[in-house]
Subunit: 298 residues, 2 copies
């Protein structure tokens, strides 16, 4: 999807908040913001929001002389996720529909995102996980069965990871895939915000259930034009592609292949455009030629 | 007050919303935003927020080739205010403390502001006026009596106007000043957002109760360094200065004279800095050397 004019204040807010979250002092934040404004003066609204956000975070990294300013936040997220994972696993396995519960915890994990919301909000994190089981009961049974069956008959599944920490719950989902199969878990090739890189995915024990593959880019989403040949081969040949997070949705909702999107709706622009609500948990089935994604399983 | 980094997303949002409110199409809004970003790349945080907002609106006026793009919105505001004024006058005159009620309606009128909120929200406008009498009962009696007595003993009062429409209720307040006196009503010298100019003040019948004086500037606030000599002479010699609206507060809260500020708190930066809440109705007494304005009459 292209960037909306309504994204601009939010991108500017993210730049200020992210700079502060990674401990930049006021003069440094101001310096970062001036460069960000210079870039925005050459704005092209046909770019997706994650492409613009990538530019912002490249400025933050360069000005802070830090290739991974969110490293400690990513480690804290992964640790917090690992703390929750044990009880989540028990909850999933004792649920009426363990697959639905695993899907719900994977979406719950999407709260561990510090792009849209640049602060650690423990209450919000706790709430997201506490309502996972309840949310799993609200999924549309027919569509969920279709999602399950497509994975069941697949020989190769590609999961497009999103944030560090969230990956811990994606592992639980992969563990509850029906039938053993080849699973790839795609991560960013180099750090951007708190998106999972190979190192973060390894810390989340993804390597035990899937082959980790870097997508070739540092965009907080998946722009196919910037991905590696190796990634694209897997993306186009996988029987099922599961895309986590809003950034992947924003960059892939017009892609020419079937994709299942799992994410929490975090912004009013997306909510308004697709008639969702901020905070909605989405399981979206996008067919090959569908760019609207108008079939939420709510 | 200087501009906070937290003001930046809000200034960008105001620029997008204001451009749309005055009917700019998407390519024009984008063109405006690119120029706004160019200006923000040279940002100086020692400027007050209204100085930066002035720049934004100068860009909007220039790109739209329209010296007063908010003209129709100002006329609508004044008409709406005149519609309400009759019943407001009856309510003020039958109130236990008509002066307090007149102050409250003048603050209620501050809702007719399309800088911070670039949309006509009829429900919010109706709510603001419906709660005026109730709010007047909550004012601190001692401080309100001091405000009343200072006006009572003054020979010359200067009211710094804010928005068109709001001026209609400032007229009601001036009518309820104790004892006849010379009253000046300051307006902007040329259009900026929906701030009242001489023409707007005349439409609000201000000329019948006060001498209208243009302040010499087009800033949505009062930057003394940019005001005319004539205005400054009145500002410094008036026995009482009453400042309407948050923009005047942001530009005058460190001025070296006693000022009474009447406004609705419209932004979280102001609310946080002074420990108010967004939506609070403020009557602030600032002494000559006080720049904190920490004595809200709530």
């Amino acid at each position: 999807m292209r960037t909306s004019l309504d994204c601009l204040p939010c991108i500017v807010r993210q730049a200020v908040d992210a700079s502060r979250m990674v401990m930049a002092d006021e003069p440094t934040v101001l310096k970062i913001m001036k460069i960000v404004f210079e870039r925005l003066a050459c704005l092209n609204l046909s770019a997706t929001p994650p492409e613009i956000v990538r530019e912002v975070h490249a400025v933050i990294r360069r000005e802070l002389h830090d290739v991974d300013p969110f490293l400690s936040i990513k480690k804290k997220s992964t640790q917090r996720a690992l703390d929750i994972a044990g009880s989540a696993k028990v909850a999933i396995e004792s649920a009426g529909n363990p697959f639905a519960a695993a899907v719900a915890f994977s979406i719950a994990g999407n709260i561990l995102d510090f792009g849209m919301r640049s602060e650690w909000n423990e209450a919000l994190i706790a709430e997201s996980f506490s309502k996972a089981l309840e949310c799993s009961l609200k999924f549309d049974d027919t569509a969920l069965a279709r999602f399950h069956d497509e994975i069941a008959t697949a020989d190769m599944v590609l999961v497009l990871g999103d944030n560090a920490g969230e990956a811990v719950f994606d592992r639980l989902l992969i563990e509850h895939f029906p039938r053993r199969k080849k699973v790839f878990y795609a991560v960013k090739s180099s750090p951007v915000i708190n998106d999972a890189t190979r190192e973060d995915a390894v810390e989340a024990s993804i390597a035990e259930v899937a082959e980790i593959i870097a997508n070739g880019a540092d965009i907080p989403g998946t722009m196919l034009g910037e991905c590696s040949e190796e990634f694209l081969r897997i993306f186009h040949t996988a029987d099922v592609v599961i895309s986590k997070g809003q950034g992947n949705f924003e960059t892939l909702n017009e892609a020419k292949r079937k994709i299942w999107f799992l994410f929490q709706v975090k912004c009013p622009v997306i909510a308004k455009h697709y008639a969702y609500s901020v905070g909605d948990w989405m399981i979206l089935e996008k067919s090959r030629n569908d760019s609207g994604c108008t079939k939420p399983l709510r």
